[in-house]
Amino acid sequence: MAVYWGSACGGCCVSVLDVHEKLFDVIAVADLVFWPIALDFKYKDVENMPDKHIDITLYNGAVRNSENLRIARLLRQKSRILVAYGSCSHLGGIPGMANFSSKEDIFRRVYQESESTVNSDKVRPLAEYQVAEGILELPEFYNDVRPLSQVVHVDYIIPGCPPQTERLLEVFMAIATGAELPPIGSVIGSGTKAQCDECIRKKTENKRIKKFYRPWEIVDDGVTCFMEQGILCMGPATRSGCGYRCIKGNAPCRGCYGPTPGTSDPGAKMMSAIASIIDAKEPEEIEKIVEGIVDPAGTFYRFSLPASIIRRNVS
């Protein structure tokens, strides 16, 4: 078994560590052959493996630079089953929001304009740099962030930011015990319905919304459906399986489990859902209510921009 992080925060790797003492069950049936966060293996160790040597690879993180891409291709070649693990490799995740900007926008902001930067020579990172000792190399930073499935064939997807550790164990044990696996390409370790179907908050059939609030503008009553209180919740467009853990913690769903089965674009689905519950018929009134949704693209595509229909800012 191998675990790798592409463009990620490290949370997914930690969620693997969260199996705690169950890790002994895992290593009883599998050798961990590559796991940068925990074990000291090098890329060349992977390169030296025969093809399909690794039974299962969990690739977390998006593909943001040439190193992520190279290792994604390498691990695909060396693995029997490649799993996109977590929101970033599934849909692009939080790093995917960089697709609202271009590489040039990002470099200008980070290396020139940010308040804490002094860079009068306008130095930018280069993929290659000549020094006396030879050529220094850095991975090339791409203009686009991509989910794993846009660069290599992915066998399974385990969604979540991070995925529920219990789901990982179930999946891992199914593979280890030779249980029958779902069809290739399936989203596993999650439910098949929307969050709303599982959520226990009090809901009425006819939702009617006159005003949207950002979470800090209103006191949540802790009982009623967030949407009915006017707080945007991604529940209607998000796959179940996490056990609505954010909602149980009194925070609205942010959509990390990705679109419901049969939906390709969670944001478009969300716009449909919201349009149905806005309680207004006059264009001016509708405009005013919609103004309450300050950042529709960022809210509805928080975890899924690179995998959505319009996957980046096109200007």
Binding site: A268, M271, S272, P296, V314
Partner: protein
């Protein structure tokens, strides 16, 4: 080469499609750039339809439904209006000119209005120039 805008028009079955049909049967001339897609109700037009149209190369998208209060299904056109207003905000954030998307109410008797709309919208898009979404999204860099 002269730019010929490609416009996708989603027309509701009960009013707008019939209106467009009336323009045809009355032999009114209007610009041939509009490709009509008949849907049962403007409330049926999911944001996905419009976004896919852009992704596949539409330079403009026209959405037409019954006048407010006239919807065959009571509420469909209001849903359409609310979606449209959200979508406008969204496509602006994605760097798409909001003028490329237009919502108009066309009744079954408004053949003339439909022809005029097809002409004026084609002209708007011609002035904006080709939409770059398709080519931008085809390239990964």
């Amino acid at each position: 080469m002269e730019f010929k805008p490609e416009i996708v028009a989603f027309l509701c079955n009960w009013c707008s499609y019939t209106g467009a049909d009336l323009a045809g049967t009355s032999r009114m001339e209007y610009k041939p750039n509009v490709r009509a897609i008949r849907v049962m109700c403007s409330g049926r037009i999911e944001p996905t339809f419009i976004l896919r149209a852009f992704k596949r190369g539409a330079d403009g998208v026209l959405v037409c439904g019954c006048h407010p209060g006239d919807c065959h299904y009571q509420e469909g056109n209001y849903r359409c209006l609310r979606r449209f207003s959200l979508l406008q905000k969204y496509i602006q954030q994605m760097g798409i000119e909001t003028e490329r998307m237009k919502l108009e109410w066309i009744s079954a008797s408004e053949g003339k209005q439909f022809a005029e709309l097809a002409n004026s919208f084609t002209e708007t898009i011609r002035e904006l120039g080709p939409c770059k979404i398709k080519e931008t999204l085809e390239v990964f860099t």
